[in-house]
């Protein structure tokens, strides 16, 4: 049995300091909302494929990183991922210098190619304390619906 989890280290290049300011304001507002009003939180909760997710500004605020641990094949679940969280990426990508055509809902292959191109993954191996447990199994074990 192999590892069911994978790392995503998506590093996106911000267009300009003005775009950073807008992005920062947007993320502060979104992430400052209570979980049930936070579209990122709501989407990831529905998806049940993402263990952890965080946003980090890098390179003196010239890059935004989305760092997650997710289950299965990103490619196979791309349509479900976009349907749940596509609008969040539309908001983020409009501030990126190398963004794919938007909205991502209408440009799914281009979005997938962009993520693949900008995903630094990790220096192998990727460690997991529970390599055989997907999110659905952990939630079930914790008795969460």
């Amino acid at each position: 049995m192999g590892m069911v989890q994978s790392p995503l280290t998506l590093v996106m290049n911000i267009k300009s300091p003005e775009d950073f300011a807008q992005l920062n304001g947007l993320l502060q507002k979104v992430q400052g909302a209570p979980p049930d009003k936070n579209p990122i939180w709501v989407a990831l909760t529905k998806l049940r494929t993402v263990h952890f997710a965080r946003f980090v500004f890098l390179g003196n605020n010239t890059q935004l990183a989305v760092i997650t641990t997710y289950d299965g094949s990103f490619e196979k679940y791309i349509n479900d991922f976009i349907d749940e969280i596509g609008d969040v990426f539309n908001m983020l990508l409009m501030h990126m210098s190398d963004a794919p055509p938007l909205p991502v809902q209408k440009n799914r292959d281009a979005f997938l190619a962009y993520v693949k191109k900008n995903d630094l993954r990790c220096i192998e191996p990727f460690y997991s304390a529970y390599p055989e447990a997907p999110v659905v199994t952990i939630l079930d074990a914790l008795d969460q619906k």
Binding site: L47, D71, G72, Q105, R108, A133, P134, T137, D140
Partner: protein
Amino acid sequence: MVPLGDVQGLILRSYGMDAATFFLLRVEKPAEARRSLGALPVTSGTLWDQKPPFCVNAALTFDGLKALGVASPSLETFPEEFVAGAIGRCAEVGDTGPCSTANWQYGLGEAGYLHAIVLLFAQTDAIRDAQVAVLRSCLLGDGGWAEIAALPGDVLPGEKAHFGYCDGFSQPTIDCGLQNPVPDKQPVAPTGEFLLGYPSQFDQLTYPVPSPDGLGRNGSFMVLRILEQDCAAFDHLIREAQTSHGIDGELLAAKMVGRWRNGVPLTVSPTTDSPQPPLSLAELNQYDYAPTAENPAAMNDRRGFLCPIGSHMRRANPRGAAIAGNSGSRHRIVRRGVPYGPPYDPAKPEDGIERGLLGLFIGVSIKDQYEFLMSEWINGDTFAPGIYGTTDPILGNSPTENKFVVPQENGAPIVISPFPRLVTTRGSAYTFLPSLTGLRYLADLK
């Protein structure tokens, strides 16, 4: 509005006919093959006043389109999985090991061999036999096509498939103007989930229509699968269930599929196949595994105590259950098909006769529907809890020995390990079902 008269009827409705013959064909003379393809009496999706005596549909493989003379710029607009075909994608759907292409029949394991499938469905054997002769004359008469095989299929006595289950209750309700005779409580499938040229089940996505528009629009894709069923192994498993595994044989049969063999769903009737009052036909499909917007009263069977999470129909259509991707209603397929081979006689378990299912699986994207379903749900073990290390008890092709888990509310689950292989792939093909306009386009090619 969906132009029902331009869509191949098989996509939108189950014909409910008892006899079938599937012709597997190769192009021999392109001009003659195009002409006879254009002369086929193809059945559309037009509303019926009464059911016709027979129906005919036609599907082409990628190599078939090429052999008929479709030009490269057009061929390049078809999706990559259709171009690769069932052979190229066999690992994706678990057609490996005993199910691998080396063991496929009728040359289906040979790349480029199959060009077309003509499907005949008839109300009776006699009508089927007569129409087989008519179709042979049409297709083979002038040497346009060569017949690789003509595969007969027959609904078994009692409207059952091999293994003794009534089947075919659950089909998506497509937004096309036709009624679903056994409606479910899942969201209505948008037209573009099953026909090219309309908004799909995914947000703002319309799948690209292969070019030219006249060839691609109102078409769909269909996967043929020849699935051999090991009735002796199934019979042995059920007969020995109580002794070997401590579970009643009929209950195990129900737990494996998710329905009792007469079609009554476990989720509605977990302890008997004969609930009182009896369920109507419509009620056989009105259940879910968790409360949803469409079915808020559904019981939350998230542990699978009623219907095991790893059962066949809960894998093939997880409905509103909590699964990875939140996508229980976004990867659906239309299922058609008919059993082949005579009914199994338990008194002659080793009769040497092959029997199984000629299965047809239809959707606008083979990759996002059929292949997703096969790889993530049927053969996958991480989309839902409690199924790690297992595959579908009926259709699964485990790389190692399979096991089947029957969760118990009061105690440890029953784990049957090793769980026998019951179905083996004996052939598969990825095909395109053009609209009637599309078939005329092919017939008129120069």
